[in-house]
Assembly symmetry: D2
Homo-oligomer: 124 residues x 4
């Protein structure tokens, strides 16, 4: 069975529109799966890597780059010197490609909005 | 400050396309925030209600209807008679509206795909 | 099959100690399942209720009271007037009972520690 | 300020009992933070590593070993060839040490219980 064809038949929109839809899914996956995860200065790279890879296994994802703000991580002075991940600390760029369309969407704390905004930054 | 205008300026796409993007965010929020939640026959309505309402507080959401499959819930016979929510048990319909566009997107276990598919079902 | 007896046989500790262990599980469930959930002034009660009930369905739980700090919720002025739940906003009291032991454990933001501490507050 | 001393003062139990409580917290963190995470055959090691490390940054943890059942991962044949993590796939062993006590607790799918049981397996 061709699952990609079958899935495609469920959509009441163009391929370009579906590609945009998929980027929204991916950014919210990053936020709602990982917010709350404990990390510190030593484990932050392993967390970034795991987030990126868990997004890249999903359908039609070309790449997912995730950076966590290191400036807020406390020094390792006692047992409580670690953080829980919040949306404000995440900077993510996800590219999804279907047919001839590639959509780039980003999540980034927006200083003006005071909000970790998810937005479509490029369609090619 | 007009945060809605400021947010809008970050998008490199049409309002219709942004509306589609927002529905993707909402469906993935349902999945990745709530999968793993313990529930039983008595608490399932309260969980559905909380999921719906947490989606409806988000930007531009008109409605979010969530049903959890009751057929898989075990009878209450011992301390272990409850379930953890999985994606396969969720049926969700989310409507997002911006300007003159309303997009309906759904998440539903697809028997043919054997996969809880998220898809755009209507654009008006 | 007696699943409660079978589960009990897996534990290399006393019933009192197991009861303490179970309270740790319940508090971390609250934190890691729900941190990141969107809510506003209107939906906060429904979220508290769903959290409490999802804990109460779990083995040996007598009660789970959850309060979310309303003082940090912004007024409803635009589409972005909502919050994502963080550990600092949660105040929880969980009671677990096995045999003749009841253990009360709590999670609460501790001003001195600047940390949402989970602790055992009473054993009876 | 001595946060370790201050935290300790909040507990109405012995150090040994607190140590048991902390292992319950850690196992539930694994379950409720990560259940729902997408992974495939290529990314599974990176996910195991990230889970282990996020537990090891938490207070008083000596080690956290996490294995995800590879036997259920589908072959990579199409865009939908990946899984979402469930509790049944996780095998975890966490050691927490305070003063002279070390507690080992485990989470493992129990065939007899048909349930991913968390239990205390050793106190030394």
């Amino acid at each position: 069975m061709d699952r990609e064809k079958a899935a495609s038949d469920r959509f009441a929109c163009t391929e370009r529109e579906r590609c945009i839809f998929e980027t929204g899914i991916k950014l919210a996956t990053i936020y709602h799966q990982y917010v709350g995860t404990p990390f510190n200065r030593k484990s932050v790279s392993s967390l970034e890597e795991a987030i990126s890879r868990s997004i890249e296994v999903q359908p039609y994802v070309v790449s997912a780059k995730v950076s966590i703000d290191r400036s807020v991580i406390p020094d390792d002075v006692d047992e409580y010197s670690y953080l829980s991940l919040t949306g404000d600390m995440i900077d993510a760029v996800v590219k999804v490609s279907m047919g001839s369309t590639t959509v780039t969407a980003e999540m980034r704390y927006d200083d003006e909005l005071r909000y970790p905004l998810m937005f479509v930054s490029k369609i090619e």
